[in-house]
Symmetry: D2
Subunit: 153 residues, 4 copies
Amino acid sequence: MQAAEKRAVEARVRVRYAETDQMGIVYHANYLVWMEVGRVEYCRASGFRYKDLEAAGILLAVVEANCRYVSPALYDEEVIVRTTIEEATPRVVRFGYRMLSGEDGRLLAEGFTKHVFCGRDRRATKLPKQYHSVFGVESAPSALGVIAPEPAP
Amino acid sequence: MQAAEKRAVEARVRVRYAETDQMGIVYHANYLVWMEVGRVEYCRASGFRYKDLEAAGILLAVVEANCRYVSPALYDEEVIVRTTIEEATPRVVRFGYRMLSGEDGRLLAEGFTKHVFCGRDRRATKLPKQYHSVFGVESAPSALGVIAPEPAP
Amino acid sequence: MQAAEKRAVEARVRVRYAETDQMGIVYHANYLVWMEVGRVEYCRASGFRYKDLEAAGILLAVVEANCRYVSPALYDEEVIVRTTIEEATPRVVRFGYRMLSGEDGRLLAEGFTKHVFCGRDRRATKLPKQYHSVFGVESAPSALGVIAPEPAP
Amino acid sequence: MQAAEKRAVEARVRVRYAETDQMGIVYHANYLVWMEVGRVEYCRASGFRYKDLEAAGILLAVVEANCRYVSPALYDEEVIVRTTIEEATPRVVRFGYRMLSGEDGRLLAEGFTKHVFCGRDRRATKLPKQYHSVFGVESAPSALGVIAPEPAP
């Protein structure tokens, strides 16, 4: 997964008035929405659209989300969402995010989301092989020269 | 539809911090969400759940929404959503809403949403007869002893 | 206001997963958020930023919003928000919006928002003259060579 | 803080259509909004309103949020948000949340938010003593009979 770890894809969003709260800053839950924008752009930059994955019956169900807030994003500010893949197996993928101001470069927040691959029935499944390279799924057994019997989905 | 017109169902929501914006008041799009809360409670008070209607393959697709803002709702304020049915035919239903402060009774906003009944394919359909009374669909022609030819769906 | 009426500014948004609902389409209240994106870009294209107007103590309080939904926007679709000013006086401005698919050009929705100019205290005020041209506020009386006494704010 | 740790306050929300996404479940960012509802009710049950704290110039700025998703919440489902205080010092408070279905009791999600007390200028400050008991701030040194020099804010 080395290559994938180095790869970072940038998406840009502009803070909407709707996303602010009466503290005069962006309401904290909205950063999770920007993470979504980030990982969708990560997919697009990797040559496929998340919606096509979903149309093919593979859903990315969120099982954990985490965000640390460093400096509040402000109304109308441009935000850069820098997305990487931190971990990927045929079952699970973990995206990492750094959100930076497009205006002064300061770190706004960082976090991650962890997902399991699911079928249309929302039950956990394994990512089909043709998508492995996109997510940088490790092929550990072959790297070790070991042929591991693959459990059925 | 006289009876239905008189009927008003009240739902209560408390303003969330997430719903405010940096003007220190509720962001205006959120009133449309409260209208949704209002009409779902209208259905529940009428003896059925909107989700059951949807499970039965009848969707209420919004074709128009309107809101006039009178006095801004504030954080943590309780809001009363008073919902009525303003018009109902086998094709279309129009809900009316008055949103009032639960604290001082002032009028916050009023508006309406207009919906067409759709099937799961999101194509317009006619409301099955068993739901007519719920929405107060007029049966004007037969009431007048007139047999009106019913257009095919 | 002729010139202003002809002027249309385009903004583009991409539909977020967060904006969809279980009907598989964009939840209707989100179009009002896109209208906000549209009018902010209208301001930017007119040479000023809405946030600067707000910093100068002039707020655009929404007094009415309306949207007619024609064809549902879908996840990941690009949406073009075409914004115009339909009416502008020193007290009130009304923006009109047409939302189109960036992919097949179909009309998704159209609507308007009406605003009054307010001070920081959220009380109605008059738009200072230096902003009149931006919003295309008519100067009808002077155009007719009539000096109309201006009512105090 | 023993007493505070044991104290759990329950709030109830009903899943709105607006909160679902096209996967047919609640969009994950909305759980953070429910956590907000939870901690506001925690405050109310502790005898004060968060808005009064804010009016007194004490803001609870979120510095971290975490959520683990166990079973998806569904449209119209009632959700119980069980809020506790996991940690509290004069600088920092950490709320814990368990979200359960009000219908079948299954665990939907659990998580925490960590906050620093801030002044109106959004700079970190110390919680005034009169609020210590509310948040269950430990008074460890004095409890031990030790006079600890208090650092200036």
